[in-house]
Amino acid sequence: MLKPEKMVKVAIIGAKEQLGIASEILHKMNLLHIEPISETDYFKLGTPMEKASQASKNLLQLRSYISYLKLDPTKISLKRKFKREEIEEKLGKKLAEYHKEIGNRLDELKRINDSLKSIDSEISAIEPLKVLEIPPMLLKGYKTLRCFVGFVKSDPMEEIKKIATDFDFVIKKFEDQFVIAIFVRSEQENEVYRVLQGFGYKEIPVPEVEYELRISELKKMKEEFLERKKKIEVEIEDLKLKESELILAIEEYLSSEVDKAELPLKTLVSKQTFVIFGYVPANSFESFQKKLNEVGIVVEKLNFEEHELPPTKLKNPKYAKNFEILSKTYAIPKYKEIDPTTIMAIFFPLFFGLMLGDMGYGLLIFAVSLYLKMIFKTEGWQKLLNIGLACGVSSIFFGFLYGEFFGPFIVPGSKNPGDVHFIGDFLASLYTFNHGHPLFDRVEEFGVKALLFIVLMIGMFKMLWGFSMGFYNVYVEHGIKEAILEKGCWIFGILGLICLIFGFSYNLGIFTSPPPTGFGEILPKNLFVYGNTVQEARAVPLPIPGLVDGWQAGLNYFYLATLPLILIWFVIFLKAEIPKMGIFGAIMAVELLTWFGQIISYARLLAIGLSSVYIAFVVNYLSLKIGLEPGMAILPLAIVIMLIGHFGNFLLGILDPGLQSLRLHYVEFFTKFFEGGGREYTPFGKVKKFIEEEGGE
């Protein structure tokens, strides 16, 4: 959690003859991340093993069949795994069979498709000739005449008349072009041809026999070809049903054979020995070493130097693994960096629920995710849908707090829950333990105010947290002094901003005004009350001190605390920036405003939610007014409006909270500490799906 897996750098050394065994074992263990290396005077890069060329040739052919057959390994649910020996035994025979059964059929299909295409083009060439109404025998076979038959873009007769004396022609319109037949003397053939070219002449081949006869002949041929094609397609489909698993298993076998055979390309080889450099996860090192030692291959542990960057293998609990697709989209953490995936796994659904906060929509998201999980089996989809499930649960939880089920049942200005919600009375009765009020009513003015303050608190907290982790990252990489100069000073700056916001909120009466009657009755009365009375807070004309009524009006302890904090920040900041950028570095202090903006930016947690609440409220209100007496009583229309409205709001409710929650992490949180730029750990070997390895692992 929070840190990528610890790695050990290793060198694997053995006699050259053992390279084959080594590649088998390494591939099976699937642990070693091999480092690229350069040759030295004595050690050269190896050459692929002999079996490589044959295996890759077979693999190429098999893959072309797979792409023709459109086999998708992710869509196949396996009945049984194949044994390795079984495949080795069948390999030659099956490959020959596939070549005969699939390869030949595919070749024939290709030939048939070619013939079909030429038939179609011939038929389409005869159509324009029919327009001319001249039999084909009259269009060719002259000794002293040349007959041009073809398309032109416009009428060329005027031009031809100028150069040719004795000629005859027929011209007809065909679609947006003209079809012509021009008969000229052979002597004038070239000149006429030149003129015709100027009009975009395109010749049409003239068939030997009557047009209708030829067309019916062609159509008959086409039918025969189509029939044959259909038959072959059925045969291939049968083969696909019967053989697909074995084909994919053989593909898997061959591709791992190729991988193994090409290992020497990443290996340094001398006359007698070989060396492979790479990284192994520290917790598997013992077993890794033992396995190789058994066959007489030596594994040495190496120390890695400062500048070296081991590959990153993310280490997260099972639940948080789902969120790796989100954090990896931003960047892969460096080996020594903090991996924020787990933090995201907690806060992403939390923010989502805080924004959407509706039991109805939450249930829908949960149900849809569950349903899609059964359809899309690929790893990426499963992870994404697991995130959907978490978001659904969190939405249901917050929906219960807010008392929303496809919209709120209490809205300021309406007395009766049944007026604004189709099951409003029922929902109100559900909350009888809280006097018919939701636990936290975010539509009510006090609720908005309190939630605004709460989300800003979350913002401040995450801002500080982000900088603290940035502090840690810099500390690990460059030491304590750099960490204070680069990140530590901002912590003071942010603390100053926090006091500023607190002072402002105090003057707005967020701490002082007690919740209205009914609001959160089960919460302790004084949760939000830090001051004495509302009047005391409201006595301040403006939340900014000194604007009216003299400087001391509106000044509070929070504002007083702001000043020294900002000063401390500014001094450290100048110490950090001036040596780097000279006096202009001071201008960079404007950056503090960015952080202020980013804290305020957390207000979207409130805003996005409120907008979806009001859309749902409007949809419910409209459909109740249209559907029921006293009103218009058009029930079907009301139902349509309700369905469409809630469906639209539901889509918005997934997209917007999802994106905004993601954004709050990427922009407002990750930028404080997360640099990324790590390399992903890609071990040599392959997770087998179709083949069973003997001895497990």
Binding site: T329, E445, G597, R604, Q660
Partner: protein, 82 residues
């Protein structure tokens, strides 16, 4: 005449409400203008490479912060004078 009919308090309340509306509305227009360019570029990038979808959507919503600022200002106006 009209001045006499509207009390000072009501006048201030009205102005605050108009200000709150302007804060959200104008900020929305600004954010929309910002998003239009990014959105067009993002769609172009997605057309080239489907894998860009997530990042493209993310870039597109970045200027939305501006509306949030407007909204916060309007909240504050409404809280202080509403």
């Amino acid at each position: 005449m009209v001045e006499a009919m509207i009390s000072d308090e009501a006048f201030i309340k009205g102005c605050a409400a108009i200000g709150a509306g302007l804060a959200v509305g104008l900020a929305g227009i600004g954010a929309g203008a910002g998003e239009s360019g990014i959105g067009a570029a993002a769609v172009g990038a997605i057309a080239e490479d489907r894998g860009f979808l997530g990042l493209g959507l993310l870039f597109t919503v970045i200027p939305e912060t501006i509306v949030i600022f407007g909204l916060v200002i309007s909240f504050i106006l409404m809280f202080a004078y509403g």
